[in-house]
């Protein structure tokens, strides 16, 4: 019967000791242990999260780099092709301009030559007319005095009028 009857003394001591144990352990053992366990777990999980984030960032960065590189390459191609067209255009333009200039110069020269020729011809015409008048005048004068003399003179005059 003693086996299943709680004793007053033991109940008293147990209540006292267990309460004290609970208070002391709570303050000096469980609190620091639980706190540091929690802290360590948070540390680990935050470190893992950070590693993941860093990995993602790295991936992002790499992707960005790739994209940038690709973009740069495309841009280069565009610039190159643009430059090529520009070059061709400039060359063509220059060619055209040179052609027109040459044409213009040739035309001007031709017109000049034409003008020069025309003025020279008209000068020749006037000189021929004057000479003809002079000759005619001298012939007329000689004919009037001596016939032989006159023909000699005409011949002589004609010899002088060497179409120079």
């Amino acid at each position: 019967m003693d086996l299943i009857m709680p004793g007053v003394g033991l109940v008293f001591w147990m209540t006292l000791v267990f309460s004290l144990l609970l208070i002391l352990l709570k303050k000096f053992a469980w609190k620091p242990i639980m706190d540091s366990l929690k802290e360590r777990e948070q540390d680990i999980s935050s470190s893992l999260a950070m590693a993941k984030q860093t990995k993602n960032e790295m991936k992002q960065l790499q992707a960005d780099n790739e994209k940038l590189l690709k973009q740069a390459r495309e841009e280069r191609d565009v610039i190159l092709s643009e430059a090529k067209t520009t070059k061709d255009q400039i060359i063509n333009e220059a060619k055209d301009r040179a052609q027109t200039e040459a044409d213009r110069i040739v035309e001007a020269a031709r017109v000049n030559i034409e003008n020069e020729k025309r003025t020279a011809l008209s000068e020749i015409k006037t000189q021929v007319a004057e000479l003809s008048i002079d000759i005619a005048e001298k012939v007329l004068k000689a004919e009037l005095s001596n016939k032989a003399e006159q023909s000699k003179l005409v011949e002589k005059q004609l010899e002088n009028l060497n179409f120079n």
Binding site: M1, G7, G9, L10, V11, M14, A29, W30, I33, M34
Partner: protein, 382 residues
Amino acid sequence: MILKKFFGGSSSFLTAAIIAVFLLGTSVAKAEGDTHSTESHAEHVEKKGFDAGKMIFEHVLDAHSWHIMDIGDHAVSLPLPIIIYDQDGSGFHFFMSSRFEHGHAAYDGYKLYEGKIVRESFDEHKEETIESENSELDVVEEAGLIDISITKNVVALFFGAFVILFLFISVARTYTRRKGQAPTGLQNFIEPIILFIRDDIAKDSIGHKYEKYMPYLLTIFFFILINNLLGLVPIIPGGANLTGNISITLVLALFTFVITTASANKNYWIHIFNMPGVPWWLKFPLPLMPLVEIMGVFTKPFVLMVRLFANITAGHIVILGFMSMIFIFGEISPAAGYGVSIVSAAFSLFLSLLEILVAFIQAYVFTLLSALYFGMAMEEEH
């Protein structure tokens, strides 16, 4: 307890060595054989036979002195302080249990009767006649005497509490000293258990408010576990049947009951007094459901108390039973005693290993059920 019988018959050198090792610095109270041989010689001869039941119950029950072993007819035990409060007006009395000379002498007006302290005027024979007439009166209680002595179990309790405090405060120191580093030494052993209690017991059973209950759950788990294991150590200061004592389990169960009741919410009380989803005629005019529910409130801690007490006490009794067989057979013939001792020792070893398992299981079960009751008390409406 076991050792005292083992070494009782062996060489004097061995016993002397055992005394020197185990009792260094403690005062050894010896029951002087010749002082009481005159008064109880006839009884003495009669009692010489080995009484397994008496030995086992002496071990399992609490005592006012710590019996270590018998050397021949001399009982070697550690005397413990007696503290009694007498309500007859004389107040507190303090003295050592060695004054009683193992129940053979009275001191200060008190004496020991069947392990209890009674007044000197207490009549054993009258009690015995009443006992024989009315078997329900076999509890010896004397009115007005409050016995709060430092008994064997109280010493074991102090020792256990000291071990727990030392262990966990030193582990806590390691945690604060080695902040943010990997655990070392004792931490490696303690930490998985703490995490198990937190993650698999508290979080699962209580829910998000588990943190408030962690100190209590950890304390009961390690209190029960360490005292269970200390109870399996056969030499002083281990070997006391502390967690197999109903007073200890009663207090533990009461703590769980008080915490459960204190943390109960409205929903818990509604479920007790006006269970939803139950036909009205179960509640009115005869409040059947409320009665059952109120009984349940008290049954839960009661079951906790009985389970731990019965498991641990049963383990101690079975191991001691196997040990007793050696001496029972030894009395028939020494050869039979030696023969049985091999089997008994093997079985005791096996049972001790089993008891180590039981020590863990009972600590786990008590903690888990306490957590479940806290969880039930705080369950929200679903």
